[in-house]
């Protein structure tokens, strides 16, 4: 029987495959910087959604896409691998046994990666469907899982790609091309595979729509009303706090320092960074009570959780910018950036953090402004009365 061109991978399988590759690459490239958490989360949800589709397609899909079609036992994998070394090279129209195992492992690790990502998002960021369900501490543990599984998955991808190339050479069959065109050269018997154009296009359309939902806000954002991809919890505000603290500097929300720091701050109000605040006793009482009730120990935000666990119990720092956590988070920012006249001071949080006034400091809610050409421009929004 002469070899003929046969449709093996339907369009949904091919689109799933390449979109999965793209979302994995996108997630990998955006994982380093908190600034791009929105991109990372978009890629993660896409990745997860694609895998869930593949699970369904593995049951209800076309012949070679079904899990049952390539559910080979360990013995068959061993026999197949041995055949690669010897002469009796076995040929499969769909996945060969070794490739099949790689697919199952890739899907399995991909699902663990997705779920652990949701755990991290719910724990560390208190965002996504698991916000409030997973604690900050648990989120930190899931982060370890998420990172390890990501590395394992990358290693598996390498094995998969090596396998594809060696198979392509040994069987004289361009498998990468087959994953684009869907067709293979088959000499023996093969099943008939419909292309399923509509479903393939639907997957692409769904993903584009999901992208529009995720990033559309950036298109309508203005300088005064920036788009915040993640909204933090609504933190308690206090008018006196805003007025008294906000007169000279950003009214840093009390969740950024532990209660003992605020107690010291107001006990030493006559030497507040070399200035005598001269606040009335009743004002001090009100401000101290508000600060203590909303201090870092309440763990309402990621920053609060980090501050309360990283500041040693015998320390009560007054400057947020001198804490280890703050420094660690800002160590990559160069002096030239701090010196920009639209930033100028390290206390000027809202020059970059778009939700600084709210005290939430969400990961993706930040943007370093371009150096302004107008020397009098200042990005401080609140003003003294």
């Amino acid at each position: 029987m002469a070899a003929r061109k046969v449709m093996v991978w339907d369009l949904p399988v091919r689109i799933f495959h390449w979109l999965l590759v793209m979302s994995f690459v996108m997630a990998w490239l955006s994982h380093e910087s908190s600034r791009y958490l929105d991109v990372h989360v978009f890629a993660g949800y896409s990745f997860f959604g694609l895998l869930l589709f593949r699970l369904l397609w593995g049951v209800f899909g076309t012949h070679y896409a079904r899990f049952a079609e390539f559910a080979y036992g360990p013995k068959e994998v061993f026999v197949y691998l041995k055949s690669l070394l010897g002469k009796g090279l076995q040929s499969y129209v769909g996945h060969n046994p070794a490739g099949a195992w790689a697919i199952f492992l890739l899907i399995g690790f991909g699902l663990v990666l997705s779920v652990s990502g949701l755990m991290v998002l719910g724990g560390e960021e208190q965002q996504g469907p698991l916000a409030g369900v997973v604690s900050f501490d648990q989120g930190a543990l899931w982060m370890e899982v998420h990172e390890s599984v990501a590395l394992l998955l990358l290693a598996l991808v390498c094995v998969h790609v090596l396998g594809v190339f060696s198979e392509s050479i040994m069987h004289k069959q361009n498998l990468v091309g087959a994953m684009f065109r869907g067709t293979k050269w088959v000499a023996g018997e093969s099943a008939t595979v419909p292309v399923h154009h509509l479903l393939g296009i639907a997957i692409v359309v769904a993903l584009i729509a999901w992208g529009a939902v995720s990033f559309g806000g950036y298109l309508t954002a203005t300088a005064d009303k920036p788009y915040l991809p993640f909204k933090g919890p609504q933190l308690a505000m206090n008018d006196t706090w805003q007025e008294e603290c906000g007169a000279c500097h950003l009214a840093f929300h009390p969740n950024l320092l532990p209660a003992r720091s605020w107690q010291r701050m107001f006990a030493e109000q006559d030497q507040h960074f070399d200035e005598d605040l001269m606040l009335d006793e009743d004002v001090v009482t009100e401000l101290t009570a508000y600060a203590i009730a909303n201090a870092a120990e309440q763990q309402k935000t990621e920053a609060a959780w980090e501050m309360q666990r990283t500041i040693s119990k015998d320390q009560s720092p007054l400057r947020i910018t001198e804490t280890a956590y703050w420094r660690d988070q800002h160590h990559e920012i160069q002096d030239s950036v701090w010196a920009q006249n639209n930033i100028k001071s390290k206390s000027n949080c809202n020059a970059c953090h778009m939700d600084a006034d709210l005290g939430t400091f969400e990961d993706a809610a930040m943007k370093i402004p371009k150096p302004s050409t107008n020397p009098t421009t200042n990005s401080s929004k609140g003003e003294m009365q």
Partner: protein
Amino acid sequence: MKQSHRFNAVMLCALLAMGMTSVVYADAVTTLQDEYRAAGAGPFSASAGEKAWTTAHKDAEGGPDRNCQTCHGTDLTKAGKHQRTGKAIDPLAPSANKERLTDVKFIEKWFTRNCKWTVGRECTAQEKGDFLEYLKGL
């Protein structure tokens, strides 16, 4: 007719109340200057206030000299800028900012804070009275 008389009376009372309120606010400067006079200061001069406003004072720690313009800027109808934090300070001239010079407590608080930072001591009643005389005309 009776009804409209009553209405007029109510309106008159409302107008009087509004007028009195505005008098009370506008009088924060008078109230303070009266206090300063009671403490032995006066008469107050806008030109003395203006001169003191721009007089430079040495920084005890050797930084650049300071005067009121360091933070409030040279044009008081425009926003100033906090020297250390860079935060914007609303215009000080009442013509540009109606809320200025209307709150006795607020004025005193900032006199004390800012005199200490700029001059290195609290200002005297005479100096404060002169400042107010100068600022209220802007």
